[in-house]
Amino acid sequence: MARNQITLEQYIGFRKQKEFGEKKKVNIGKVISFAFLLIFCIVWLSPFVIMFFGSLRGFSDTMLYPKELFYPHSGYTLENYEMLLLGKLPEGIGQVNSVQDYKIGTWFLNSCFSAIGGTVLYLFVASLAAYAFTFIDFKYRNVLFAGIIASMIIPGAATAVGNQSMVYSMGLNRSLLALIIPGLGGVYGMYLIKTFFESIPKDLIESAKMDGYSNFKIFYKIVLPLGKTVLFVQGLFGFMGGWNDLIWPQMLYGAKDNDLWTLQVGMAYIINNSKTSNLIGSALAGGVICLLPVLVMYIIAQDKIIEGMSSSGIKG
């Protein structure tokens, strides 16, 4: 058994403290906030639970025994997932033509491509630019940067329609690349990366230059390793943004290119087809599939996400 190693003085201190009665006060504020937060969290997380259990409930249970939410009348079933993933209709549900259009596997991959590919490419391009704006001196650097920053005041809506036609003109309208490439011009991420790069001591770069490093070497040997936290955080946000985006993919691939849809567009379609009790289970199952990657990522990188969010709030 591991013992508490303390000095005798400390022990005496403990005894005295106990004797003198400076007891740890029960902080009422803490108790109240704990209680409130507990209740709040229970209420706030209940939709997750409802979604999860709802997705495991068969369609006939949903119609006939709607009150048995957590213990479905005829037990848990994966029929909703089968309906989505395999197109296998459960017996007795009748005719559901729309299920034929569900290509959730393809959508999932499209979303992955959009979210991961877009993020990685963006980080690369943006950090290159941020490097140039921070460490390379060139004419009109500050003017150019100020111009780019000033463009942040123009909301995305102003360029969306132009972009849509632009992408069409470039012949990318049937390509998944269109999900990714227009995002490369994003300003905010580049700005944050640049802000971080600015905090890297210039001496470091200069001494590396003295050691004969080229700009490229400095970039990937010094700046990128140093900036990996900010890149990671930006990457997380980029991923979540890409994964959760609905408007742009919808604009791109419109009403029926369901090979190119992302999970979000597909899910919106599924929901619109599933506002009846026999199909809502499949929508919930879709929701679970849609949520899972982000949730897993959140659980794994929760600290980093919150930290990144906080720091963007403090700095930005």
Binding site: N97, Q100, D101, L121, V125, M170
Partner: protein, 532 residues
């Protein structure tokens, strides 16, 4: 990085090249893009056997359960014409067929189909967008034996614009009313001395609705559950009469004589039967002016408020339990439900599940449900020539402008001819096979053929639908989608208002109808402005 550079250059190049892509397609009547590459024999005649491996891409709007029938037919065709013509079918769910058509046309012309198997009400609208060829010229050039004289004029007209055919009609069908005849009989509400259970007129329908409601209200209405494995015994509706599983139980409060009519087809029947039109030749919206339709809408309100109509949840679920006695649905539904669910052998087995000897012996009780055309739509004052008819849509086969060789066009026409007019060795029309799935043939010779008649006798759907000549098809319009949507929205709105807590009054319903018509008019004006 390289990618970005490339994409920039690409952008500039693409902007430059994309300009002339769609130049000639906008004139719908143009057939210049077809190159005459027909193989001809030494006499200069074309014959199918000269074709070599012509592949056609066909988009089919047919969903389950008819899909299999169509695929089987196509398979048969491919077998017959092996080495000459091969048709590949892509099934696009009918919810998104037209969106897909549009977006593929605009974004992905390479994947645009050669042949469309689509709804006839959209034929002209899309033809006028320049998607399809006028076929008369092609038929002449290729000599494929399609004689439109054999087609029913009323159905054929949906494919025609300005005297030209843009599609080959295949079939027609309308929405049917499903009726629980066992309940009507048990409660003695049948007509002609309780021997006929299909209301044949507006008045009969009204009487039936009111009769059912009155009985239900007084607690005298007999109902039973005809779902498989459920208790089939008759019981009288009384509140608190909970002898069955609560979820599958008809009670006074959830009983309605009829379910809301579908928004898709019945309102058009109401419009056309009463002599109305959606719009006139100048695209002025006219449906709101039709008294019959107005009556239909106000009836909707009054019947709902009198609890003759209702929304009892899922109609397919409510119907077998007896919560609803009538509802309206497409003919495919009948096959679907009749065979799978309700052709219930248990009903003719006395002694089990509460089925009495008497029940088992009665043909009406053992076949508890029937279907019929909505004869009850013609209100007072409906024109005689339309009063006994009904609205129906159907399918057509079109040749798209993606086809640029006469060979392909010929192949497409051959397929259309084979499907609609082709006969098997037995003399049966191929179309009959298709019709068995629940469609009326658009061709007189098929309808009059013995094989069809034999098939129709067996099919409750075909029997119910009767003569294709009695179908009123949609008028051809460039704005068909908008017009139908307008009417559907109007009726849908009234239904939604009825369901809401505030409810709906006759005045409000008429107002909604007029306002929606006005808004539809505006939408059409807007579209006219936009499309140059």
């Amino acid at each position: 990085m390289v990618l970005a550079l490339m994409s920039t250059t690409l952008a500039l190049v693409m902007v430059g090249c994309n300009k002339n892509k769609n130049d000639n397609k906008n004139d719908p009547t143009n057939t210049d893009s077809i190159v005459d590459d027909l193989p001809r024999d030494e006499n200069g005649n074309f014959d199918v056997s000269l074709l070599e491996n012509v592949q056609l891409n066909m988009w089919s709007v047919i969903g389950q359960p008819d899909q299999e029938t169509l695929l089987a037919l196509v398979k048969e065709f491919n077998k017959q014409f092996a080495g000459m013509i091969e048709i590949k079918v892509t099934s696009v769910g009918h919810y998104d067929y037209y969106n897909a058509l549009d977006s593929t046309y605009a974004n992905d012309y390479g994947n645009f189909p050669d042949v469309c198997f689509m709804h006839n009400e959209k034929n002209i609208e899309y033809a006028l967008k320049g998607y399809f060829y006028p076929l008369d010229e092609l038929i002449e050039k290729t000599g494929v034996g399609i004689d439109f004289a054999n087609a029913y004029d009323n159905i054929e007209k949906t494919t025609m614009y300005d005297g030209k055919h843009y599609g080959i009609p295949v079939d027609a069908h309308g929405y049917l009313t499903q009726i629980r005849q066992d309940i009507i009989k048990k409660n003695g509400l049948g007509f002609d001395g309780n021997t006929r259970f299909i209301p044949q007129s507006y008045e009969e329908y009204q009487t039936l609705l009111e009769g059912l409601r009155a009985k239900a209200n007084s607690g005298e209405l007999w109902v039973r559950n005809i779902n498989l494995d459920q208790d089939h015994s008759w019981y009288q509706l009384k509140d608190g009469n909970a002898k069955l599983d609560a979820a599958a139980q008809a009670t006074v409060s959830n009983f309605y004589p009829a379910f809301f009519h579908s928004q898709e087809s019945d309102n058009l029947t109401a419009l056309y039967v009463n002599g109305g039109t959606l719009a006139d030749a100048n695209d002025n919206v006219t449906f709101a002016q039709n008294e019959g339709l107005t009556k239909y809408v106000t009836d909707l309100v009054e019947r709902y408020n009198a609890r003759l109509y209702g929304d009892a949840g899922n109609k397919e679920a409510a119907f077998p339990t007896g919560q609803v006695v009538m509802f309206s649905e497409g003919p495919w539904m009948v096959a679907n439900t009749y065979d799978i669910w309700w052709n219930n052998k248990q009903l003719s087995t006395a002694g089990k599940l509460g089925v009495t000897e008497e029940d088992a012996a009665d043909p009406v009780y053992t076949n508890p449900y029937t279907v019929a055309r909505p004869y009850y739509m013609a209100a007072e004052g409906a024109p005689a020539e339309t009063a006994s008819k009904w609205y129906g849509n159907g399918h057509v086969i079109t040749v798209t402008k993606k086809v640029t060789s006469l060979q392909k066009a010929a192949a497409a026409l051959i397929f259309a001819e084979w499907l609609t007019q082709g006969q098997k060795d037995s003399g049966d029309y191929n179309l009959t096979d298709w019709c068995k799935a629940g469609h009326l043939p658009a061709w007189k010779n098929v309808y009059e053929s013995d094989s069809y008649k034999a098939a129709a006798e067996k099919s409750i759907t075909l029997t119910a639908m009767g003569d294709p000549a009695e179908i009123i098809a949609l008028e051809s319009s460039k704005y068909a989608t908008t017009l139908i949507a307008g009417l559907t929205t109007a009726v849908g709105d009234v239904q939604a208002q009825l369901l809401s807590a505030d409810g709906c009054t006759v005045d409000k319903a008429i107002q909604t109808l007029l306002a929606t018509a006005q808004s539809t008019q505006e939408a059409i004006n807007l579209l006219k402005l936009g499309i140059k």
